[in-house]
C-alpha cells in the first residue's frame, strides 16, 4: 500500500534536514503506529506525504499502490486515496461544513471518473455517518471547525475520513487535546473504518491511543529515521521506560 524508501527531506526556507533516510512500508489492511520524541520529524513526514508546500525532497521516494506520491498535487494525492487527519484542524469561517464536505467528496469522485453524489444521497450518507460519531446536525451546518471544541474538531476529521473513504489514512497526533470519552469516540470511528484494503499510519506521542486503535506494527522514529520497529509491546515499553534506552540501543 504505502511504501517509503530512503526519504530525505529538508525545509525549503532554511537549509535544515528533517528526514534523513526514512524507510517504511505499510501493507494493505494494517495499522502502523509511529512514536518518537519531539522534533524527530513525525509531523514533517505526514505533511510531506500529503503534499504541503515548504519541504524539499532531496532523495528517496514515497508511493501509494506503486504510484509515486511526491510529484502529485495535494488534491491528486487525496483522490488517489491518501488522507491526513490534522493535528490542528483548520477553521474556515463562512464555509459550511456540509458544503465543504460535499465539494471534497464530489471532487474526488470526479477525479476518479465516478459519478458525483446527488444532494439527496450525500445528505443521507453524511447524516448516517455523523450520527455514528455523535456529530449533531447543527455541527454539520456550521462553518468548517468554527466554534468546535478540540474533541469536535477531531470527530469532524474522522467524519471527513468516513465520507472520503481513503485507502491510506495518516493520523497526526489525533489524540492530542482529547478527553477520555472523545478518544473513545474517535477510536471507535477509526476502528469502524478498518478493513482489509485500508491502511492506517497513526502518529502519536502516547501509548494510550494504541489501547483503542490496536496497531499491527509500532515504529520508533528519531532524528529523521525509523530506528526500531516491533509489535504493540514496543509502545508499552516506550510508555514505561521513555525513549532513552531505545534510542541509545539504536545508536
Amino acid at each position: 500500500m504505502l511504501k517509503i524508501d530512503n526519504l530525505h527531506v529538508k525545509l525549503e526556507e532554511e537549509d535544515k534536514q528533517i528526514l534523513k533516510g526514512l524507510s517504511l512500508e505499510v501493507p494493505a489492511g494494517q495499522v502502523h503506529a509511529i512514536m518518537g520524541p519531539n522534533g524527530s520529524g513525525k509531523s514533517t513526514l505526514s505533511y510531506v506525504l500529503s503534499g504541503r508546500d515548504g519541504y524539499d525532497v532531496t532523495e528517496g521516494s514515497a508511493s501509494l499502490d506503486g504510484e509515486s506520491l511526491l510529484d502529485m498535487e495535494p488534491e491528486e494525492r487525496a483522490a488517489a486515496g491518501l488522507f491526513l487527519a490534522f493535528q490542528y484542524p483548520v477553521e474556515i469561517p463562512g464555509v459550511g461544513n456540509m458544503t465543504f464536505l460535499r465539494t471534497a467528496v464530489n471532487a474526488q469522485r470526479k477525479a476518479r471518473g465516478q459519478d458525483e453524489l446527488s444532494s439527496g444521497d450525500f445528505l443521507k450518507l453524511v447524516r448516517a455517518k455523523a450520527a455514528e460519531l455523535q456529530i449533531s446536525p447543527d455541527m454539520l451546518k456550521r462553518p468548517v471547525n468554527v466554534g468546535f471544541s478540540g474533541g469536535e474538531k477531531k470527530r469532524n476529521e474522522i467524519l471527513q475520513m468516513a465520507m472520503l473513504e481513503p485507502r491510506m489514512c495518516i493520523m497526526d497526533e489525533t489524540d492530542s487535546g482529547l478527553d477520555v470519552d472523545a478518544m473513545r469516540l474517535v477510536s471507535d470511528g477509526v476502528n469502524a473504518l478498518r478493513s482489509p484494503d485500508r491502511s492506517f499510519l497513526v502518529i502519536t506521542h502516547y501509548q494510550r491511543l494504541l489501547n483503542h486503535i490496536q496497531p499491527d506494527v509500532v515504529h520508533i522514529m528519531a532524528d529523521g529515521r525509523i530506528v526500531k520497529s516491533g509489535g504493540p509491546e514496543l509502545a508499552l515499553q516506550v510508555e514505561q521506560e521513555g525513549y532513552g534506552d531505545l534510542l541509545s540501543e539504536a545508536r
Binding site: P74, T103, V105
Partner: protein, 443 residues
C-alpha cells in the same frame, strides 16, 4: 485590534489650499443646466455651495488616495456597453422593479409606481418641491458637508435630473428594486433619490447595475423614530464604470439604517456614506464586499465613511472587505465621530483586504474622534494573503486549488455578507459570488 478611546485631531480638513481656478469648475459645469421645476431653491443653494467649495484637487487630504480627475473632467470617456450575460441578481424575488437608463426613469420598463404603504414619485415629475420631499431634498446633503466638503454631492443636488422620491408610511410587502441600465456609450448620468421612512415603518431598497459611462448618485435617507431602512446594492462584473456615489442618512431614535454594497470589477469608484445618528438607541451598519481585478482595466475602489454619533446608547458598525489582484487598488477611509454627550456609544469598524498578488494594494485610514467619556469604540485594519494552511487543508481533502481559493475568498468576505439580514437575499449574493469567482472573475 485593540479597543481604543482616542481623541485625535481632526485629520480630515475641508477642501484646502487656494481656491481652484474658476475655469476648472466652469468647464465641469459647461455641459450642465440647472433643471427647471421642482426644488429650484435647493438646487440654487447647492450650486452656490459648489461654487464656494470648488472641485477637489490633488492636494486635498480627503482625496489623498483617489485621483479626482475623472470626476472633475467636463465629460466622461466613452465606455462600451456590455451585453447582458447573466440573469439579473434579484430575478425571481417578489419586488417592485423601477428601471433607470443613464440616470433617467424609464416608465415603460418599470412596474407601476404603486406599492401599499409607500408613496413613490420621480424627481423629474415632481412639482415645485413642496411637502415632505421639499423639506428633505438637499438638506441632508448640505448637513453632510461639515466637517468635510463633498463637492460632487453638491453638484448632484444642483444638477441631478431624475431620481426617486419615496415616502414609506407603512411597511410594504416587498422590496423596491432599482435597476440601472446603460443607454448610450458616453452618458454622464446623475440621479438623486430622497427617501423618508416614517415612524416604525421599514423598507428594503435593492439597487443593481450601473447607469452612464460616468455616474454621480446621491441618496438622502431620513429614518424616523423606530423606522428601518435596508439598502443592498450590487454592481456586477461585466460593467466597466467610473462613478461616485453618496449616501446621506439621518437616523432617529430607535431607528435602524443598514447598507451593504457588493462591487465586482469596474474602473474607478468612490462611495461616500455619511451617517448622522441623531436619536438615542439607534443603529447604523455599513458594509461592503469588493472584488477587484486590474487585468482588463485599472481597478480603483474607494469606500469613504463618516459616522457621527450624536445620541446615547447607539451602535454603529463598518465592515469593509476587499479582494484585490492584478494591480488593483482598494481604499478605505472610515471615521467614527462621537460628539460630547453621546454616552454608551458602541462603535465598531473593520477594514480588510485580501491581496491575491504582490502588485495590488490597500490603503486604509481608520479614524476615531471621541468627545464622550463612556464609550466603546474599536477599529482594525488588516491586509493579508491567502492563508497557506487553510489552502492546504482544503486541498488535502481533494478540493482542487482553484475551488479552494473560491472557498477562502468567500470565507474572507463572510463577515461583510453577514451584514445582509435577509436570508434569501444573502443566499442569492453568495450564489452569484460563487459563480463569478468560479468564472475566474478574481482568481
Amino acid at each position: 485590534m485593540a479597543d481604543l478611546a482616542v481623541r485625535t485631531k481632526d485629520q480630515t480638513p475641508s477642501i484646502e489650499g487656494a481656491p481652484k481656478p474658476a475655469g476648472a469648475l466652469d468647464a465641469r459645469l459647461a455641459a450642465l443646466n440647472l433643471p427647471q421645476g421642482g426644488f429650484a431653491a435647493a438646487r440654487q443653494d447647492a450650486a452656490a455651495r459648489l461654487r464656494e467649495m470648488g472641485l477637489p484637487g490633488p492636494r486635498d487630504e480627503y482625496w489623498r488616495y483617489t485621483d479626482p480627475r475623472r470626476f472633475n473632467a467636463p465629460a466622461p470617456a466613452a465606455l462600451p456597453i456590455p451585453q447582458a450575460d447573466e440573469t439579473p441578481l434579484f430575478d425571481g424575488l417578489d419586488k417592485l422593479t423601477l428601471v433607470f437608463v443613464d440616470g433617467a426613469f424609464d416608465k415603460a420598463a418599470s412596474d407601476d409606481l404603486a406599492l401599499q404603504g409607500v408613496e413613490i414619485a420621480t424627481l423629474a415629475q415632481a412639482d415645485a418641491g413642496k411637502g415632505w420631499a421639499g423639506d428633505l431634498y438637499g438638506v441632508l446633503e448640505a448637513r453632510g458637508q461639515k466637517p468635510v466638503k463633498r463637492p460632487f454631492a453638491a453638484l448632484n443636488t444642483a444638477y441631478a435630473r431624475d431620481g426617486l422620491l419615496i415616502r414609506v408610511t407603512a411597511t410594504p410587502a416587498k422590496p423596491i428594486h432599482v435597476v440601472h441600465r446603460r443607454g448610450t456609450t458616453d452618458a454622464d448620468a446623475m440621479w438623486h433619490h430622497v427617501i423618508r421612512i416614517e415612524r416604525g415603518a421599514e423598507l428594503t431598497l435593492l439597487e443593481t447595475g450601473m447607469s452612464g459611462a460616468r455616474s454621480n448618485s446621491v441618496i438622502e435617507v431620513d429614518v424616523a423614530e423606530g423606522g428601518t431602512f435596508h439598502h443592498v446594492a450590487s454592481k456586477r462584473a461585466a460593467d466597466p464604470r467610473v462613478g461616485i456615489g453618496h449616501i446621506f442618512a439621518r437616523v432617529a431614535a430607535q431607528a435602524q439604517f443598514k447598507s451593504f454594497a457588493l462591487s465586482v470589477n469596474g474602473t474607478t469608484m468612490r462611495n461616500e456614506t455619511v451617517i448622522d445618528i441623531a436619536g438615542d438607541d439607534a443603529v447604523a451598519h455599513v458594509a461592503a464586499a469588493v472584488l477587484g481585478d486590474g487585468e482588463r482595466a485599472p481597478f480603483h475602489h474607494d469606500d469613504t465613511v463618516f459616522i457621527t454619533h450624536g445620541a446615547e446608547r447607539c451602535e454603529s458598525r463598518q465592515v469593509f472587505k476587499k479582494v484585490l489582484k492584478n494591480g488593483a487598488t482598494g481604499v478605505f477611509q472610515g471615521k467614527i465621530l462621537v460628539r460630547p454627550g453621546a454616552q454608551k456609544t458602541d462603535g465598531y469598524q473593520i477594514s480588510q483586504a485580501l491581496l491575491l498578488d504582490e502588485r495590488s494594494q490597500f490603503l486604509a485610514k481608520p479614524e476615531l474622534e471621541i468627545y464622550a467619556d463612556d464609550v466603546k469604540c474599536s477599529h482594525g485594519s488588516t491586509t493579508g494573503a491567502i492563508d497557506d494552511e487553510a489552502l492546504f487543508y482544503l486541498r488535502s481533502r481533494g478540493v482542487p486549488r482553484e475551488r479552494a481559493i473560491v472557498f477562502l475568498v468567500l470565507s474572507f468576505l463572510a463577515d461583510a455578507l453577514a451584514e445582509v439580514e435577509d436570508d434569501g437575499i444573502r443566499d442569492r449574493i453568495y450564489e452569484r459570488l460563487d459563480v463569478w469567482l468560479t468564472l475566474n472573475a478574481v482568481q
